[in-house]
Assembly symmetry: C2
Homo-oligomer: 208 residues x 2
DNA sequence: TGGCATATCCCCTAAAAAGGGGATTTTTCT
DNA sequence: AGAAAAATCCCCTTTTTAGGGGATATGCCA
């Protein structure tokens, strides 16, 4: 019997996941929670084997929460859930201790398979063929590059329409520095102007 | 008693919505379907009052399906469901006959309220305060401007990262003409650089 | 057939970004 | 403590965009 817990702020997803999991005879849903901070005390109370965790939570990011959970409960497995098959997020979640990554369009069978893969010590990645075929952007050979904190920050400001000078003013750094970061972003993304950069960033939910 | 039908390709959402709707005493879930084309014959068989419809379906867009449903079954109400509170989509769905727009993070109470608003002839828009506060961009007073055919075409090419010269070459027109269109786009959108233009366009699904 | 929106083309200047270098300090991790 | 990564800053040139302005053709519709 596998005891699972759900952390997601979308009631529809929680109800759906719970309903799909309830239909599995060897899975027991211990509870659910709509945010990160309240979830940790709840996890202490129950002996949970596996946590389903949305990567976009209202308070702290899934990545942070994953790190915390793995630190406090090393035996507990983490299955990240997300709307998108976002390569950048996937790798970052895995790096921070997640054992699986499931997209919200997963079927009951896929979820079942994912649970068993993860519980037997494996790594499950939900990159189904449909996603690969239907979303060429998110899954294109262009892997989402690893950005530094500063680069992400500046990418966000670029996408908001600020110029190098405005960004420099906002961050109290030289416009030349902003320009360097901007050039690094272009290089990392393999694009050659702002339009492509912003489009890529918005489509891959790196901004917003 | 209100008979509803769900069209969504995400099993988790279908299960979740079904579970939340089953908990309402005056609602009866007649069935569900994972794509647009198979849904129409199913709707013919049952007397459905209200259809919950994802705006992103694998085959045809929610907007097209909404149009079709309203044409074939004029008495049937359509409730659009989406992950985002995207103004562009909302208006287009409403224009094509939808009576409501619900985001997937809606609570059971919100869904209940939406159903009753719609069934009593009203228009329900899920633009909760959190969304308004968290996503100032998608909900800004900025109405989507009316673009001409040429402007839409050029906007698409700008978002693909082409320069004025490249666009001119592609369309066999002068770069100066492209520049004029580009300036008109900036004016119509009320923005002052390409970054904002592309972001707005991508977020409002004007490109892709 | 006259008006109106659209599309086309042109002028000018200033600002911003792209593309190419290189160098130094500060964090971060081991 | 020392290496590696990140962040900072600077030089140069060319291309592209932004922000003004205006003008002519063309298709559509009432």
């Amino acid at each position: 019997m596998i005891t699972v817990f759900i952390i997601d702020d979308h009631p529809m997803i929680v109800a759906g996941l719970r309903s799909l999991l309830d239909g599995m005879e060897d899975v027991n849903v211990a509870g659910s929670c709509g945010n990160a901070i309240d979830s940790l005390p709840l996890l202490k109370k129950t002996a949970v084997d596996l946590v389903f965790m949305d990567i976009n939570l209202p308070d702290i990011s899934g990545i942070e929460l994953c790190k915390k959970v793995r630190k406090e409960f090393p035996a507990m497995k983490v299955m990240a859930i997300s709307t998108f098959s976002d390569r950048g997020y996937i790798t970052r979640m895995i790096d921070n201790g997640a054992s699986g990554y499931l997209i919200k369009s997963a079927s009951a069978e896929e979820i079942k398979g994912a649970i068993h893969t993860v519980m037997s010590g494996g790594l499950y990645l939900s990159l189904s063929m449909e996603q690969l075929l239907l979303n060429p952007n998110t899954t294109a050979p262009g892997i989402i590059p690893v950005l530094t904190r500063r680069e992400k920050e500046i990418l966000g400001l670029i996408a908001e329409g600020l110029t190098n000078n405005q960004i420099a003013g906002r961050l109290y750094i030289s416009p030349l520095t902003v320009d360097s970061h901007r050039k690094n972003l272009l290089t990392k993304f393999g694009v050659n102007n702002t339009a492509m950069l912003v489009r890529f960033a918005v489509e891959n939910r790196l901004v917003e």
